[in-house]
């Protein structure tokens, strides 16, 4: 597979994951916003920005403006619309590599979001929009799995999705734990309850969490669920497992198994599978998650250096 094509598929997938993630977060926040007083509401917007690792706005935040920046702005490369446009642009460059159903779906999603007109009234009925973005992304994922051969190209799509997911999950939790310093093993009170539910909802995890631990929310359990559960698709552990699997297949297909991305990802995976949540909470989830993010960044660079943009002379010698 052409390096450029792999690169585009990888980035397409990362951007789409990012668009979906942002849509989920903003949607959840908007629902919360309706429940809250204007003052608390303003504070929440800042949390949202932190959770997205977006450049933070100091002082008062205008909800409409912020919404526009996060959702529609073309100058903000990480806004939902920008992400979908970039994802589409990446796929457009490698259209012959995907199924026409995939292209049609992403193109339709793009045309839909481009047509949306963000006026005043839009914010209140925006739920439908965010649902459409999430569903559009899920549909794309389903179509991808159903119509594209699960070869090397598909693996880069997996890789992009889960590298992005690991990173965004870790950021979101990092921001959350920073401002919600409740005792780890106590049931959270009603004032903070909404915050924790919002976190779970932002990771599509509320229902799954309830099944595992009942609706009793304890920070320790939330952390365990979102970081260490191997079965839940929006957990760090799950995502890193997928990264590993994809890198192994790619390593075999390209005969580069011994190379650095596989090694770094393996290390991170081992770390996650042997970690105890008590330890993590004991040393502070912040530093643990920070480490996850930096390993994730290292995996990204290694993929780039081994598969996408390697020095030619090293290939000539072999």
């Amino acid at each position: 597979m052409l390096s450029r094509v792999a690169d585009s598929l990888y980035w397409m997938s990362r951007y789409l994951e990012r668009a979906e993630h942002t849509a989920r977060l903003v949607d959840v926040e908007l629902q919360l916003w309706l429940d809250q007083s204007p003052e608390t509401g303003a504070g929440r917007w800042r949390f949202l920005l932190e959770g997205l690792h977006a450049p933070g706005a100091k002082g008062a935040v205008d909800a409409a403006k912020l919404m526009n920046a996060l959702v529609f702005s073309r100058t903000n490369a990480s806004s939902i619309v920008s992400c979908i446009a970039t994802a589409r642009e990446n796929l457009r460059h490698v259209r012959e590599q995907c199924s026409s159903e995939m292209w049609e779906q992403l193109n339709r999603l793009y045309l839909d979001v481009m047509q949306t007109n963000p006026d005043e009234a839009w914010m209140l009925k925006s739920h439908g929009f965010f649902r459409a973005v999430q569903e559009g992304a899920h549909l794309f994922q389903g179509i991808t799995d159903a119509t594209m051969s699960h070869g090397e190209g598909w693996q880069y799509i997996q890789l992009g999705r889960y590298v992005e997911r690991t990173d965004t999950l870790a950021s979101l939790m990092e921001a959350h734990f920073k401002r919600n310093a409740q005792p780890a093993d106590q049931v959270v009170e009603s004032a903070e309850y909404l915050e924790w539910v919002a976190l779970l909802r932002s990771c599509l995890a509320f229902e799954a969490y309830c099944k595992a631990y009942t609706a009793e929310i304890r920070p320790l359990r939330v952390a365990e669920f979102l970081i260490l559960t191997p079965e839940f698709p929006h957990s760090v552990r799950f995502s890193v497992d997928r990264i590993n699997a994809a890198l192994h297949v790619i390593g075999d297909l390209t005969e580069r198994r011994e190379k650095s991305p596989t090694r770094i990802a393996g290390r991170l995976r081992a770390q996650l599978s042997f970690s105890q949540i008590e330890e993590i909470m004991g040393q502070g989830p912040h530093s643990y998650l920070e480490n996850v993010r930096s390993e994730c960044a290292a995996i990204h660079s290694a993929i780039h250096e081994i598969y996408f943009d390697y020095p030619i002379e090293s290939e000539m010698a072999s």
Binding site: R4, E104, E152
Partner: protein, 511 residues
Amino acid sequence: MTATAQPSRIRVQPSFVRYQYETAYDEMFSAPGVPREHYQALHRTLLGMPQEELLKRQQAADLTFLHEGITFTVYGSKEGTEKIFPNDLVPRIIPSIEWAKIEKGLTQRLTALNMFLRDIYHEGRILSEGLIPRELVYSCKHFRREMRGLNVPRDTYVSICGTDLVRLPDGSFAVLEDNLRVPSGVSYMLANRKVLKRVFPTMFRDYGVWPVDHYPQALLATLRSLTPENCQYRQDPTTILLTPGVSNSAYFEHTFLAQQMGIELVEGRDLLVHDNVVYMRTTAGLRRVDVIYRRVDDDFLDPLCFRPDSILGVPGLFNAYRAGNVTLANAIGTGVADDKAVYAYVPEIIKFYLNEEAILPNVPTFLMTNGKHRNHVLQNLEKMVVKAVGESGGYGMLIGPHSTAQQREEFRARVLAEPRNYIAQPTLSLSCAPCLIDGEVESRHIDLRPYILMGEKVTLVPGGLTRVALRKGSLVVNSSQGGGSKDTWVLREGNGEDRVAKITSFERKAG
């Protein structure tokens, strides 16, 4: 039966009321209201189909094009650079006997043009015998001195060709121009067919139409038959399609063909040349490339050899080509044979190399380098079509009857300043065919671009792209200038009438 189940709905059949009969050859009618034999079934179908149904089908077809991204890029327009290539639902039908002649004529023409290219880049017999002025060839901007003495596989310079044919008022076909560099549009031919088969399945089957869907396989076989001799593994040469990139007007076609052939679609930046061998950068390391179906112009292929400012090309590619380590299809320098001034000599070229008369005639052409021709043209500009020799796509053209006095003066000055750069042809009335315009059938001018492949053998996919000048009265069919296209049906045998007799009404979905 839905037709009677909904008596309250008003049905309006499309009429031919707005249909104009012109002096040009009419593809459908031999006389006003009298369809030619092979068009009778189609005529009946159209008359029997409610207007709203036709509109619905046209909309469905348009949506297919949009969703599949069958688009082209218009240069020079700021927003909406991606547009759907308008397609028309009414097919154009060519009886088998007419096609047989086209097939023979185009094979003859391309064979001779390949011999011409081989000759001018080697011995130059046709030049030393004075049949074509040397000056004409050497001053052609697509003449590539670098190709002199260089041998190409099978002596085939042009392996992928799209020749534009027009039908003259007497019903005969003539060649308007040859496209021997990077002809495009074949994907629209395939897309039109795909859509039409969905829209008129029964009529299509009953007409007995030659399929065109095997074009990608035929193209791949042609490319592989041109594998360089230096290729170590001739059984499985690495064949790729080189595109200028996503902003190119024909990018959709590049992705489409690459996908259909199952080959890599690469850009210049994916390739590199080391020790005269071309490699592509893959995730598994560098991989050697043997055959390149390039959709990049000569000028941009290699910044070392041609335009140094090209960022689309591959530095050193020409050296690898010269060394015989890679095949480029089409070869470099084929543009000299589709230069519009050289075009005027094609009948003589056919005679010279094949000792045959041209089966398909040229359109009369005046060379502006010839003083007598030039005076005649300049005195009759309002009747002439003047074309810049090195341009294509309908750019750099004056259409006399539709021009203003100012435009004519402009062209007069241009011709006088650079006579070698222009030719003129009498304004042709391209043939007309029925097209669906806002639910009504109207007549529009059309041409025909069949695609010819030449490798180990010659392959013509029956039909080609029928281009339509969608603007009323317009003679310009280029997509960049408001043209569209329609499906072209070449009938397997006879004229189709006997086989379609059983179609009595319009096609309708069951239930």
